[in-house]
Symmetry: C2
Subunit: 216 residues, 2 copies
Amino acid sequence: MRVGELSRRSGVSVASIKYYLREGLLPAGERTGPNQAAYGDDHLRRLRMIRALIDVGGLSVVATRDVLAAVDDPELPLFVALGRASGTTTAPEPSTDQDEAWEAAERALAAEVDARGWQVSDQNPAWATAVGVLATYARLGDEDLAGQLGLYMTTMEEVAEQEVAAVVDRGDRARTVEGVVVGTVLGDTLLGAVRRLAQQHQSLKLLGETPTHPRG
Amino acid sequence: MRVGELSRRSGVSVASIKYYLREGLLPAGERTGPNQAAYGDDHLRRLRMIRALIDVGGLSVVATRDVLAAVDDPELPLFVALGRASGTTTAPEPSTDQDEAWEAAERALAAEVDARGWQVSDQNPAWATAVGVLATYARLGDEDLAGQLGLYMTTMEEVAEQEVAAVVDRGDRARTVEGVVVGTVLGDTLLGAVRRLAQQHQSLKLLGETPTHPRG
DNA sequence: CGTGATTAGATAGCGGCACTGTCCGAACAA
DNA sequence: TTGTTCGGACAGTGCCGCTATCTAATCACG
């Protein structure tokens, strides 16, 4: 398959494919001549993953490159790349404000983590993200929102247990890793959307109203 | 307070404040002369919220403007603006692919929603986002990931119940709405980070290892 | 075998976003 | 009075994610 067919089958323009090749998101095709290369089904699959991570997962091109590099490198711990990816998406800058609010937030999170016996590293980018959100709550005077943290941890503990269990032994190692990446990145999006729907449902339930535009 | 002090107290440059004023994120100060205006504590609070939504929540300036407009307008249904906001963050384009995968995904979601008796509108942007993720799973051949949907819905139903209950009757209506917005937008970020931490914890638990960089 | 489409690769350009810098004339602070 | 700050307008900047254009080589077809 040459680039034209790859473009037609993936729905991605040739120019964009060349761009992804340049940026290292897509491995080069197999050379068949000085200015000719052949692409396979794995290129097509990779291309679809790229579009999913960028369009649906909301990752930047650079974050996508890093995540995919971790997929390709069996040595690299996957959650590091995933943390980096989510960091890019949701916490553009945890800021260097190592101020009072930040330290109080970190203590609060550490207490909850210890209470549950979680084994987590504060090198995990998600740690700084969580602390940053908690600190922001405090700075905004919305400290009561931090009260949801325990609930979030309890529910995510169960969710993560199911997710990790579902992923162990999927057969092909490469495909497994791909599944983890897709499930993690797109799972954030799905979880957020489901939360929004649940909030609407619960709002209506609590206020005893019916939606303005019911489904169907 | 004039713009210089507002800048110093908020940590936002004067140029950026002027930019937010132009873009309608921040209401104009009270005029005290032909080229003089005074800002109050509510401007300072609004400015801090803007930075939180942009930096921590990852919203764009336009999305932030829309969300804040909904905060200011008691008529506008809040979840519409919030849906739009999250849509901007996580699902840049659900695409117009009303193809087979999309329709199958929509049927699957509708079935789950009906089974739980949720009252939700498919006008809610979160609906399209959720369907889009499900359809993407299918196109990538990761259909098994869709199996997590039920788990996500069950857990988010409980989370949303607590969140909605915590928000009802907070006293001041304007402050309540602000709390909802902050809790919803920043809550997405927090929930994602907690999920990442829980995944690390569960991975280590299942594989019986200890983190490379334990906290402390 | 010729002719037009396609290719790899390199480089330049574009449009959007989130600011940032500069200038003006007025006003405030010493 | 003199230096600083102000509001307002507008041009410019840097980054990002492509997109367009070019060249020389190769391919597909009659």
